[in-house]
């Protein structure tokens, strides 16, 4: 068994299903003590099998299930192996956390959550293992449905039902596009295995249609602009471990689908496609982070950051398609590696951040940043893990977010080899978008961390103050620690992951990084192109910064006294200070509203000079609702109201319809 990662992964996926199926109804203790820890263990095993699969040639298996003529085909190759590793390792941390987080749930609900949660995990594994369009779509839909039920866990709240509906709607719009894309690739030959789809020779126009359908369909799941609207609604609605799973892992399966279909099945990449992906990616990145800066609900804010990070991944994928389209596979593989590296990084740190948000919610019942403050004193351990996540997502060295952004920059700097003048000058500008987004993310996480964890506790505006219930429980902390350790490992030893991803690149494009890059890379040095051109050593970086910091500390201690006095804050000597005078989350975003004002839909009410009770209100909304979603919804309603005229509710009318149809068929078809 040890040499067969495919069988192993299948066993893990089945184990998840078994865990889901075996829970005795109403037995909460079983779910808490066994189901989630077993799920986590299975996740670790899956990560190991995935890692093994990266280094082996691809394996296939046919299951005697499914429709009579269409058995399920399974296949594991380096790309699937990499994503299985992502799924297994990230879900392991989340499952451990979930064991603690769901501890206080009423047992009926908990059993249901446990069932849906593990079906969700297993369906994601099957999406990654599928080798025919049929199994892929079955797994894809199972994934959408199980996550839908998890999102509406609190279905007694109308807002949550609405969020769930929006999610289901957009998920299915995407699924239809993916289905059509498989249809185009299939071209009526009756064989839906990926091998057959891969072998199909498409006309360029049809290939572009397939590309657009796949891009739209998977983009809807990934949360790319303008199909992102469900993300900030559905992710906060779900319980926190589920948000972490959806944001960290599920939207990554959409990236997997995109790479699988566009790079592998369609093949023959064209650079024009790359420019489409780059443009959408840049818009997604900027809008995601700018809207994140406007949020004061912590989980909504994190969801908008997922939109942003999907944009960053798309930037890498787009660059890769441009380079490969122009016939530079080495640079293309570098960009692809950057994109996939960021996929893994985002899964780890966004999972961590959602778990941190869940820990705050769990202990204080707060989601609104404007009600928080000073949490670092009540929950120092959560604060520590959250800080690691915040530094990682802000792309600061030596953590993992920086590595993938650095690789993306290095890919953009290969622009000189592109023959097309306009494209060559545009690529660095897309890199500048990334730089802007990175710096804006840092601003956003200064806001989140500064307002939630630092400063003084704020007086909640709408509710009685909640006493801080203390730090996260031990299971919750283990889950966060696992992902925080992932941030360090991915940040400090990037070369091992570079080599893994290089295998993925080789298996997809037939080419890998240049010889010089591989020769220059050791565990200490990350060299994406050639030594002397670009290199980065996070370990040395961390050691030097830690040594310098420590040395400064020791020198100061050695040569000067260590006397410290404690006093009230100085604050320029103003005597009247209260916790309400601190910045709120909305105040912190004010410079952004000023600079990027036209991008938001703002409704601001200023108090007049005569007001007896002066109030200032500000509402910032997503513009996409108004120019895209609401008009489409109105049009759909209009059309369906016209169609509804057919439905009179009387049996004789319906019989008349059947009669007319029959006559028409007899006349025209015969």
């Amino acid at each position: 068994m040890a040499s067969s990662p495919l069988a192993g992964s299948l066993a893990v996926a089945l184990a998840w299903l078994v865990v889901a199926g075996l829970i005795p109804a109403g037995n909460a203790a079983f779910a808490r003590r066994f189901a989630f820890p077993l799920g986590a263990l299975a996740g670790v095993a899956l990560a190991a099998f995935g890692l093994q699969a990266v280094w082996l040639p691809s394996q296939t298996l046919t299951l005697p299930l499914g429709l009579p003529d269409m058995p399920f085909h399974l296949r594991i190759d380096p790309l699937a192996g990499f994503f299985l590793m992502l799924l297994g390792s990230v879900s392991a941390g989340i499952s451990v956390y979930a064991a603690g987080y769901f501890g206080n749930e009423p047992s009926g609900r908990l059993t249901l959550i446990t069932l849906q949660y593990h079906v969700f995990l297993a369906s994601m594994a099957f999406v990654l293992l599928a080798d025919d369009a049929y199994l892929f779509m079955v797994a894809w839909e199972t994934m959408a449905l199980s996550s839908y039920f998890l999102v509406i866990t609190d279905h007694h709240l109308p807002a949550i039902r609405r969020a769930g509906f929006l999610y289901l709607l957009i998920a299915h719009l995407g699924a239809i596009a993916i289905l059509l894309c498989f249809g185009v690739l299939h071209g009526g030959r009756g064989d839906y295995t990926f091998d057959a789809l891969r072998a199909a020779q498409l006309q360029p126009a049809w290939a572009s249609v397939a590309f657009l359908l796949a891009f739209f369909g998977f983009g809807a799941k990934a949360g790319m602009l303008p199909l992102h609207a469900w993300l900030p609604e559905a992710h906060p609605a779900a319980p926190s471990p589920v948000s972490a799973l959806m944001s960290g892992v599920m939207i990554k399966t959409a990236i997997y689908g995109m790479v699988r279909v566009i790079f592998d099945l369609i093949g023959n990449l064209r650079w024009e496609w790359g420019m489409v992906v780059l443009t959408v990616g840049a818009a997604t990145t900027l809008f995601g982070v700018l809207y994140a800066l406007m949020q004061h609900d912590l989980k909504r804010l994190l969801a908008y950051h997922s939109v942003e990070n999907i944009g960053i991944i798309l930037l890498g994928l787009g660059m890769s398609m441009v380079f490969i389209g122009f016939g530079h596979p080495a640079a293309g593989v570098l960009a692809l590696i950057a994109a996939l590296y960021h996929t893994l990084n985002h899964a780890v740190f966004k999972g961590l951040l959602f778990l941190g948000a869940g820990a705050i919610l769990h202990s204080t019942g707060l989601r609104n940043l404007n009600d928080m403050g000073g949490l670092i004193r009540g929950m120092p351990k959560t604060a520590f893990y959250f800080l690691i996540g915040a530094l990682a997502i802000s792309a600061l060295p030596p953590l993992n977010g920086f590595v993938s952004e650095w690789l993306t920059f290095q890919a953009a700097l290969q622009a000189t080899i592109v023959q097309h003048g306009v494209v060559r000058s545009l690529l660095p500008l897309f890199a500048a978008t990334l730089a802007l987004a990175g710096a804006l993310t840092a601003m956003c996480f200064v806001k989140v961390y500064g307002i939630a964890f630092l400063g003084q506790p704020r007086e909640p505006a709408h509710r009685t103050p909640v006493p801080h219930a203390g730090d996260a429980g031990s299971m919750e902390r283990y889950g966060m620690a696992w992902l925080a350790a992932g941030c360090f490992v991915l940040g400090l030893f990037p070369t091992s992951f570079l080599l893994i991803l290089n295998r993925v690149g080789v298996s997809l494009t037939g080419q890998g990084l240049s010889e010089q890059a591989l020769a220059g890379s050791g565990w200490l040095w990350l060299v994406p192109t050639a030594a002397g051109k670009a290199s980065y050593s996070p370990v040395i970086f961390l050691v030097v910064i830690a040594l310098a910091t420590l040395l400064a500390f020791l020198l100061v201690r050695r040569f000067y006294h260590g006397r410290v006095r404690f006093a009230a804050p100085w604050d320029c000597g103003y005597p009247e200070q209260s916790s309400r005078m601190q910045d709120t989350a909305d105040a912190f975003g004010q410079p952004i509203r000023h600079v990027f004002g036209p991008l938001y839909r703002m409704d601001r009410r200023l108090p007049g000079p005569e007001d007896a009770e002066p109030r200032y209100t500000l509402k910032v909304e997503d513009r996409h609702w108004y120019w895209l979603y609401l008009p489409v919804a109105r049009a759909a309603e209009f059309v369906s109201s016209k169609i509804a005229l057919l439905q009179q509710g009387r049996i004789s009318i319906y019989l008349l319809y059947s009669f007319i149809t029959l006559i028409a068929l007899l006349v025209f078809v015969r």
Binding site: G450, A531, Y536, S537, A548, T549, R563, I592, V595
Partner: protein, 316 residues
């Protein structure tokens, strides 16, 4: 290059930058005093200030968290790291490949994030105000800075500062129009990132306009001294990056002891001129309103992009 000599050079440069940075600040202050027709303070004044601060008793706000206490040391560590990366005296230092220009920008971003967090730690109104203004300037300056550095990277085909400087220092003398654009953009970013006029005034304590001072309002004694020192090193590092990119002549190779005195002299001359130039800019300009900062920095960004496009046009 012999590695023992290389490490000796590395240590020498790191220590030199840390020790010399306040001197450069003293020189700028002295030049500015001359230009403003004041009697100039001693060029050693920054050292006296540091010594005074180190000897005072530290005062903390009661609710200060570990982040507040550790930030001065982290800032100092970050700037020390930057001092080790930038080729100030010599290229080819053994530590240089560990971090390239993008990582260098990352170091400055790390320092900025920690100083903004520390400012918000006490929970005063000025702290939050300073933090959000600092981050505003930061996110405007960072893309412009990267674009400037990318232009230099495109010219030399590398993102390692030491390779860039080697390429630029040992080429035939030729005018690079792209570098001219990049130099202006870099200067603008330098002013913004180091809290100089016209973006911020390092000498102001006027509550409504200050940015950098608002961040460090709650610090005192040795912690304040470390921050001030880190600020001096940051200015020095930016100046030497500018010199390395745009006036690289005279820099030594690591391990080449004979070239060292010449490198020292060249650096001192260039820094003296640069400091005088900085003082002149500060004497001539007035501070901009905060919301003109985006215009100032987007101009810098556009200049940097123009520089890059010029490079593509001229060099095909």
């Amino acid at each position: 290059m012999n590695s023992a000599a290389g490490i000796a050079f590395q240590l020498l440069q790191s220590v030199f930058v840390v020790l010399a940075a306040p001197l450069f600040l003293g020189w700028v202050n002295r030049c500015r005093a001359w230009l403003q027709n004041r009697s100039a303070p001693s060029i050693l004044l920054p050292y006296y200030t540091l010594a005074k601060l180190f000897n005072k008793d530290a005062v903390f706000a009661r609710d200060a968290s570990p982040i507040f206490r550790w930030t001065p040391y982290i800032l100092f560590g970050c700037m020390w790291l930057a001092a080790g990366i930038v080729p100030v005296l010599a290229t080819g230092l053994p530590f240089a490949p560990a971090a390239d220009i993008i990582a260098l920008v990352g170091v400055f971003a790390l320092a900025r994030m920690f100083s903004a967090l520390a400012a918000m730690d006490i929970g005063t109104s000025f702290g939050g105000l300073g933090a959000r203004r600092e981050m505003l300037i930061g996110f405007l300056a960072e893309p412009a800075m990267l674009m400037t550095l990318f232009t230099a990277a495109f010219i030399s085909g590398s993102t390692q500062l030491t390779t860039i400087v080697d390429t630029l220092a040992h080429r035939e003398f030729a005018l690079y129009p792209s570098l001219a654009f990049a130099a202006v953009a870099f200067l603008m970013v330098l002013l913004a990132e180091n809290a100089r006029i016209p973006i911020d005034n390092p000498t102001t304590h006027l509550e409504l306009t200050m940015v950098h001072e608002a961040l460090i309002l709650e610090y005192s004694a040795r912690h304040l001294a470390l921050i001030e020192w880190a600020v001096a090193i940051k200015l020095f590092a930016y100046m030497t990056i500018g010199i390395a990119l745009f006036l690289p002549w005279g820099i030594a190779n690591a391990g080449d002891w004979s070239a060292l005195p010449y490198a020292f002299a060249a650096l001192a001359g260039k820094l003296a001129l640069a400091g005088a130039g900085l003082a002149l800019i500060e004497a001539l300009l007035a501070k901009l309103r905060l919301f003109l900062a985006p215009e100032f920095l987007s101009t810098a960004f556009l200049l940097a992009v123009l520089g890059m496009l010029t490079h593509f046009l001229v060099n095909g």
